[in-house]
Symmetry: C2
Subunit: 382 residues, 2 copies
């Protein structure tokens, strides 16, 4: 190969890497981009399959972040202890390796996916802030030659960019998880002052995202709905014990104090710029389409989507749990009630979504937990 | 220039860009790296001075993120409305520009720094997720020629990497700020149930970081101290109104319930993996070196640094505010009390730090606010 064409090839490679770097750096939500990154890595090194493994520091195990070119389903749940196998040994040593005769390597334990035969492996550690956080692996260079020193150099450059992106996404998602967990813990602690509503917050969150998904909200809207639902009763922090814990129906004056939790909660959250968008879900979850709700007596055209959803979830849970002054309704009776009040108390769209879920036995906490789990999974797993 | 040497030059440039990309992507705390990035940009384009401007979306203004090569102090506080001047017009149009005869450009309003004369300007927008988030600017190409189309191409590549890094750092710091604000708002809402302790949380936070800085904690420790101090009384959420609001000294049984706020708060925070490191600050801020504190009667060698600091801050604030059963001490009397109890109730190191601050009139909320402001400034400003 002439010097010029070699230089040109390397220049092109660099351009791919740079583009990839910009794309990777441009997102803190990696799932989509990482798969594209692997595709580029395969192209650059003519590999048949590739994967990114991530190190779970606490359990000292590696797990797949992304796999390309093999039956991902079968091996997706594989976990490899640090130090075990080729992937584990590169993660421990922090040194890149090429193994071109994999059958001869004592660390090799065979293919898990019976439709794929591994011949050669290139493994590069992902190092961020001085620590191994995972491993990039390419399998089977096409042609008989196996991976080259040139491939290794290329992938080490690539790994630098990948590692930074993965580390940032982790940091971001850890912070996000901590935030959600903290806000949930505090909401639940506030709820615990009310002896009649154990587990209410968690159930309203779960029912809300279930309804939201049925209505067709996108992921961002579901995330917003989840956070608003966690916080919907946060204003109860300002309700005195004697009202919150009264073992009987509240009188008019007490009711007025109790109803202030919508305004107080909205006021608290509204002071925080990054959460201001949650105010309608908190302030208006006790409004009714017919204007007979509180605190603002909003009507149909004034009421946002999120409080409509939380309203149904909240009421269903209130109806199906015992209160000091009345017994719980059965779910069937509550479902009838929601259908009856569609258009007056409840948004007909949300009530209809509830009706569909209920009719197919899908309005359950288990189903809702699944929606919540899918939301968390969008955040790269730490 | 021969084709080969041109290719070689471009290859080297790419390598610089790639390295820079990895470095930029490797941090969510940009201040240090951005200045290095500007240095590289100046080298690549032979510029005398450079800067990164960031767009404040809410105020529709650009402000300096970093400046190199000019009297940074003088111009650091400059803010330019979107659309105004060359920088404002590139930020609005989203199109890169070279202005080689700056005196002839009607948008040019002259140099702010009297020691620097601008001749030519290269301005590239920083675009992340489709929106302009700032501008990269180089001033004065050395030699008489001005900036070239080649410089522009290079800096557009560079701007892609920069923009992604700046956008990520912003997202991260916004999330962090939202978390701190939310936790503070909730702590204050919980505190408001106790009519005798208005503003206590905020003052304990402020005093704590002031003491922490005097003792020589590093930034990470100060951040941890701040968060622990915000949360130190969070367990009071579980204390009944009748005890929290009793307008008299508590009896033994009530005291026992009140003292549980340390355990309850630690339990709540301890359930959250990302906050578990804060547990000692919350659980042990009422311990004493002599073992007579609560809840665990820890002694000197068992007591961590953070609760020692919060303990002094908390007690000073309690002593200097009125309580239902006693009047506030004067600050001078409280200072004497802290000195007297050093070694028995209080850690002598913290008490000595308090003593030094107090003696030079620096144990004030204003001084503490300054420490807090410097902590926030470490997070890139959004």
């Amino acid at each position: 190969m002439s010097e010029t064409s070699d230089l040109q090839r390397r220049l092109l490679e660099h351009e791919v890497l740079l583009e990839m770097g910009v794309e990777l750096a441009s997102t803190l939500d990696l799932a989509r981009v990482l798969s594209l990154a692997l595709q580029k890595a395969e192209e650059l090194c003519h590999a048949e399959s590739s994967s990114i493994w991530e190190l779970d520091d606490e359990r000292r195990e590696l797990f797949f972040r992304v796999v390309r070119g093999r039956a991902a389903g079968e091996i997706q749940s594989l976990r490899v202890p640090l130090g075990r196998g080729i992937v584990g040994s590169v993660a421990r040593s922090g040194r890149a390796e090429i193994v071109n005769e994999v059958q001869d390597d004592p660390r090799w334990s065979g293919d898990r996916d019976s439709h794929f035969t591994t011949r050669n492996i290139l493994t590069v550690p992902l190092i961020a802030r001085g620590s191994v956080i995972g491993v990039l692996q390419l399998l089977n260079r096409s042609g008989g030659e196996g991976f080259t020193a040139d491939d290794l150099r290329r992938m080490q450059l690539f790994a630098g960019i990948l590692a930074a992106a993965v580390a940032n996404a982790r940091l971001y998602s850890d912070q996000k998880r901590t935030f959600l967990e903290m806000v949930t813990a505090l909401s639940e602690a506030i709820e615990k002052r009310d002896p009649y509503t154990g587990g209410h917050v968690r159930r309203v969150v779960t029912y809300s995202v279930l309804l939201g998904q049925e209505i067709g909200l996108d992921v961002e809207e579901l995330e917003e709905l989840r956070l608003a639902a966690i916080l919907h009763d946060i204003g109860k922090i300002a309700v005195p014990d004697q009202i919150l814990q009264k073992p009987a129906r509240l009188d008019a004056g007490e009711l007025q104090v109790m109803e202030r939790h919508t305004v107080d909660g909205a006021e608290l959250v509204g002071r925080i710029r990054g959460l201001r968008h949650l105010v309608p879900g908190i302030r208006s979850h006790h409004e009714r389409l017919d204007g007979k709700g509180y605190p603002d007596h909003l009507t149909d055209e004034q009421l946002a989507k999120i409080p409509r959803i939380i309203g149904v979830a909240d009421t269903f849970d209130a109806m199906t749990t015992d209160r000091p002054y009345r017994r719980a309704l059965t779910p069937a009776a509550a479902a009838e009630e929601i259908a009856r009040l569609a258009g007056s108390q409840f948004c007909p769209v949300v009530a209809a979504a509830f009706g569909r879920l209920y009719a197919r036995d899908a309005f359950t906490l288990e189903q809702g937990e699944r929606v919540l789990a899918s939301l968390s999974a969008l955040v790269p797993q730490g």
